[in-house]
Amino acid sequence: MAKTLIVGEIQKGGLREATLELVTLARKLGGEITSLVVGSGVLALAEQLAKKGGGRVLVADDASLANYTSDGHARAIRRAIDTEKPDLVLISNTPSGWDVAGKVAAALDCGIATDVVRIEQDGSDLVFVRRMFNAKFDARLRVSGSPRIATVQPGASEAYTGSEAGSVVELDGVGGDSRTKFVEVRVAPAGGHDLTKAEIIVSGGRGLQKPENFDAVLKPLVEALGAQMGASRPVVDAGWLPHEYQVGSSGQVVSPKLYVAVGISGAIQHLVGMKSSNFIVAINKDPDAPIFEVADVGIVGDLFEIVPALAAAVKSAKGG
């Protein structure tokens, strides 16, 4: 790989871990590495990235870039591409990353592979590996033209931990107006249903089919185990349970001693919220459901038969 541009991301005043994961990925591909840091008053973060393997770090520093806007960040990324002429541009697949990446690709009329988990070198070409159909299948993509843009799934690589001698260069011409105006970030008030401290969580997904089944089918197992109830997103979207039950990237991130996933397929956004649980049991009628890849124990079958049997067995083991 001749030259890779890493688009860094700032989160809560620091470099996001995902940016250092891009460093690992870029270093594996070899070739020259250059990075971009966008914000206001972010010179120190650019220096930090330079020392952490970001290579030659461009900094787009302007008051107008203090908060993420698609116009502001697209302008900075295009400016960096213009000056560096990279062959590959790496952006983290995060809410700001996926908001800006397609905009830049369309402006430059170039190909983009999104939510990539791996990039393989094949002679002089690259193969972009990603999931499809909500993780049911893997896919290999080829992208033609230059530069090629890839957005990369956070957590797909280890963060780079080496220290290197890099340099920092200030980019000019990056300030300006944005049509979208940032107003504020609202953090949802903590609900009464805090799953982060639960020892055991039993979560139900779309496989439960009806809201009534959470009480009729799932709750007896939840109560028998002395667990807390959780849910996947479609359950919350449909209004069957409040948002504070949602586990996943846009819900709570949990790591109980035991996580039981019932009728949940195992899309990445759900896995992000529960894969670091100590022990995972998955119940699903589809033997190929991706949830079985992260589970320690799997039960393949109809949850409407299995879950009542589990609840009864736990109850009798407790002597009640």
């Binding site: 698609s70 116009d71 809410p95 996926w98 908001d99 990446a101 397609g102 905009k103 690709a105 369309a106 009329d109 190909g111 983009i112 999104t114 939510d115 999931r131 499809m132 159909f133 909500n134 993780a135 049911k136 299948f137 893997d138 896919a139 993509l141 080829r142 992208v143 033609s144 033209g145 049509r179 979208t180 105006k181 940032f182 107003v183 504020e184 970030v185 609202r186 020892e199 055991i200 185990l225 919350v236 979207d237 449909a238 990237s249 846009s250 709570q252 001693k257 035991l258 022990f279 190929d288 079985f292 890849e293 589970a295 124990v297 039960i299 299995i306 049997a309 589990l310 067995a313 736990v314």
Partner: protein
């Protein structure tokens, strides 16, 4: 106010998916299709605007073979005014940029105040068409919105970030919004709506009809292969009768010291 809603037809959530012979897509000959879930919420949002202001027009658009007409009819039954289907053999291997260029050709001709679409399609999971289309149209955008308040010439939206945080941004019209699931409660088509839908216009257009040549939509991104993910360590699958499985489960919970 004129609103364009982009609807993609994707395999039904409960369809059994099998790989096609050449390994570059799934077998789509004998499965059921439906409107992409995210897009239903986008359509509902457009219809709510029309409920408030009857002078609004809601145009639904889908790029796909003739089977997408059924999804477009469903959307008309729910209350959309007009439907456009675009299909051409030249779009069979279209990548996201080609789809965005094709939609852009229509959207420009229609000159809409608002373009609504899904954040992500449930088959490819690319989640990129919206920002591309916005750039091609020269309008601002916001992705993954969970609320939108129209106020004169601008709209205030909440974008979903991670962990339940929301980012509030304001955009001037015309603009493009991509919608996250759960934004609203999607209506069903009423019987009356379905009857009326039969008389509403559904125009089928080719690439030429929207002023594009095949070369303009030549893909830069190619799906070389899709395949079942290699089985890693995976889970230990509990087998036996229902009671055997239940007892083994209890054994595991005991081993964890939780019983």
């Amino acid at each position: 106010m004129k609103i364009l809603v982009c609807l993609k037809q994707v395999p039904h959530k409960d369809a059994r998916l099998e790989l096609a012979g050449d390994g570059s897509w799934i077998q789509d000959a004998n499965i059921k299709f439906e409107i992409n879930d995210y897009d239903n919420y986008a359509l509902e949002e457009a219809l709510r605007q029309k409920d408030k202001d009857a002078a609004s027009e809601v145009v639904v658009l889908s790029i796909g073979p003739d089977r997408v007409q059924q999804s477009l009819r469903t959307a008309l039954g729910m209350g959309a005014d007009r439907a456009i289907q675009i299909w051409d053999d030249g779009l069979a291997k279209a990548d996201s940029l080609a789809i965005a260029k094709t939609i852009a050709a229509v959207a420009k001709a229609e000159s809409c105040d608002l373009v609504l679409m899904g954040l992500m399609s449930d088959d490819t999971n690319f989640a990129v068409t919206g920002p591309m289309l916005a750039e091609l149209l020269g309008v601002p955008h916001a992705t993954g919105i969970v609320s939108a308040k129209l106020d004169g010439g601008q709209v205030e939206v909440e974008r979903e970030l991670e962990g339940g945080a929301l980012e509030v941004v304001k955009l001037p019209l015309p603009c493009l919004l991509s919608v996250q699931t759960g934004m609203n409660e999607v209506r069903y088509a009423s019987l009356k709506g379905i009857m009326q839908a039969k008389k509403k216009p559904l125009d089928k257009k080719s690439l030429g009809d929207v002023g594009l040549e095949a070369a303009a939509v030549a893909p830069k991104v190619r799906i070389e292969k899709i395949y079942s993910p290699p089985k890693g360590g995976g889970a230990e699958i509990l087998t036996g009768s229902k009671d055997d499985i239940a007892n083994k489960f209890v054994g595991k919970v005991k081993e964890l010291g939780l019983l």
